[in-house]
């Protein structure tokens, strides 16, 4: 159970693929202009991530280390094709909007990273949990970023949700600011700014928690800093 908790915490917060590992930034920046786009791509990535982690974990004893990366990429590509066909069948308009970014999930290094760093070394259940939590963490960041950019970029929330969730969601749109447009946040530069601010917010929260923990216990905990990530992983 404790391993489950740790995997959950790592995936959703302390080793979040988007905010800490800074992986998969290309789709993160490109499709998060609205909540529905972000949620669509987030769900597709989640699906691929679970599938890839499960399959890689199952075959981990049978693939020689020298050819493991091509094998993993093939597995990921197969799952991406499934996701793409599913979206084409059930959410065709969203499929058209997301366009090239659905096939590009294959090259999302967060997925390959988890397959190689975790699933290839762990049994089925932890690998599946890791895929689920990392995927959820990535999707959560996508949705939050999509919400921030949609709200402050065009003044609405949940516009066009019917593209993903069917006609029942057609009246979900909340217009917070009428007659409002801040084009900067809708365009790619705004995505960089919003992502930077999200990372900064996470670091501020971590900092506060750390300080509180420091006050409660005097002995410093062992920390493990890695290159090219934001934040400290314990």
């Amino acid at each position: 159970m404790s391993q489950f908790n740790e995997l959950t915490r790592n995936g959703l917060w302390s080793n979040n693929p988007a905010l800490v590992q800074l992986l998969g930034l290309c789709p993160l920046l490109a499709v998060t202009s609205t909540v529905v786009n972000a949620l669509g791509l987030g769900l597709a990535t989640l699906l691929v991530m679970i599938g890839a982690n499960v399959s890689v974990s199952l075959i981990r004893h049978h693939v020689p280390a020298s050819v493991r990366l091509p094998a993993f990429v093939m597995i990921i590509a197969a799952f991406v094709t499934c996701a793409e066909l599913l979206m084409q069948a059930y959410t065709f308009r969203l499929y058209q909007i997301l366009g090239i970014f659905i096939p590009l999930i294959v090259t999302n290094c967060a997925i390959l990273g988890r397959a190689d760093a975790f699933a290839a070394k762990n049994p089925l259940l932890p690998a599946a949990t890791d895929g689920l939590m990392m995927g959820l963490g990535f999707a959560a960041v996508l949705v939050v970023l999509g919400a921030v950019r949609e709200l402050f970029g065009q003044g609405t929330l949940f516009a066009g949700m019917e593209l993903l969730l069917g006609p029942g969601a057609a009246n979900w749109q909340v217009t917070v600011f009428a007659d409002y447009s801040f084009l900067f946040l809708v365009l790619p530069p705004g995505a960089f700014f919003a992502t930077g601010l999200l990372i900064a917010t996470k670091n501020v929260i971590d900092d506060r928690l750390e300080r509180r923990r420091h006050r409660q216990q005097a002995t410093p905990t062992k920390e493990n800093r890695r290159v090219r990530v934001t934040g400290i992983i314990r």
Partner: protein, 356 residues
Amino acid sequence: MSLMHASSPHTRATTSTGRVMGWVLLATLPGMLTATYYFGWGVLLNVLLAAMLGIMLEAGVLRLRQRPLGMALRDNSALVTGVLLGVSLPPLVPWWLILVGMVAAIVVAKHLFGGLGQNPFNPAMVGYALLLIAFPVEMTQWAAPHGLFGQEAVSPGEALRHLLGLASPTDAMTGATPLDAFKHKGEMILASEFWASDPLPSGTLGAWNNVALAWLVGGGILFVKRIITWHIPVSLLGTLTLMATVLYAIDPSHFASPLFHLLGGAAIFGAFFIATDPVSAATSRRGKLWYGAGIGLLIMVIRPTGAYPDAVAFAVLLMNFAVPFIDYYTQPRTYGHARANRGIKVRQLDSDEETS
């Protein structure tokens, strides 16, 4: 460390950031007042609001960062940022546009990177570029040159109503800038036909030329008071003129004349007041020459080919990116030392290394 033993009564000049910035403010007066004379009270209101917001935002951010307020506010740098952004904006814009621009300039471009002296990008130009991308409609409606008191002039009260967002400019009050009009003349129209068709409100081109010349006067003040050196403005304007002349010589029917490029837009203002920002510009003399030349070149690449009419802000920001690179390669030789060996090191294959 005190190596100097001064016995005679030498005069001492106090140069502080506050004094330097004070001279910059003073030097903006000719350009600012000329622009007000031609384009109306809106210019002055923009500058006042932007400067006020600059000081308020600076104080607010310093409080958040738990830094001492007094010294940072007395160095006038936030005031300069405000004035420079204020004169770059079109007259008759609403207040929130200036607020967004100043937040981007002071909070994001300056203090997120560590405050005065740490910002890699020119704060005023970050604010301007963000506004241009975010609000292209408001940012390309420049006031027509109706003057301060004439028949069609916008009264101070009317300008204030525009600033408060109670009124939006009508077609009679605004016009394109010369660069904007020339950019959108279309491929099929020759330059001569374009000018013959009288494309701008009357007096626009003359107004822009005179404002540019007034900025040149301000630049002269900065140079005489040794706030800036000649390197950046000269290399910037020189490269710009050279490029414009070459393009004009190749195809005069589609490219504007060098004089138009020099005086028709923000080139002179940018060369003396924006590109010479001591924080975000290159440091050494040789570096400054390269830096200025890069900006001039980029302006002449972006103006004819880019999507936006003027290019000074983007050119300056792009060259700000290049400043660490320029500084690395143009480090001056220190007396008594060999020139720094920069660039990709090619390892000499001598006998020692072959055996090892």
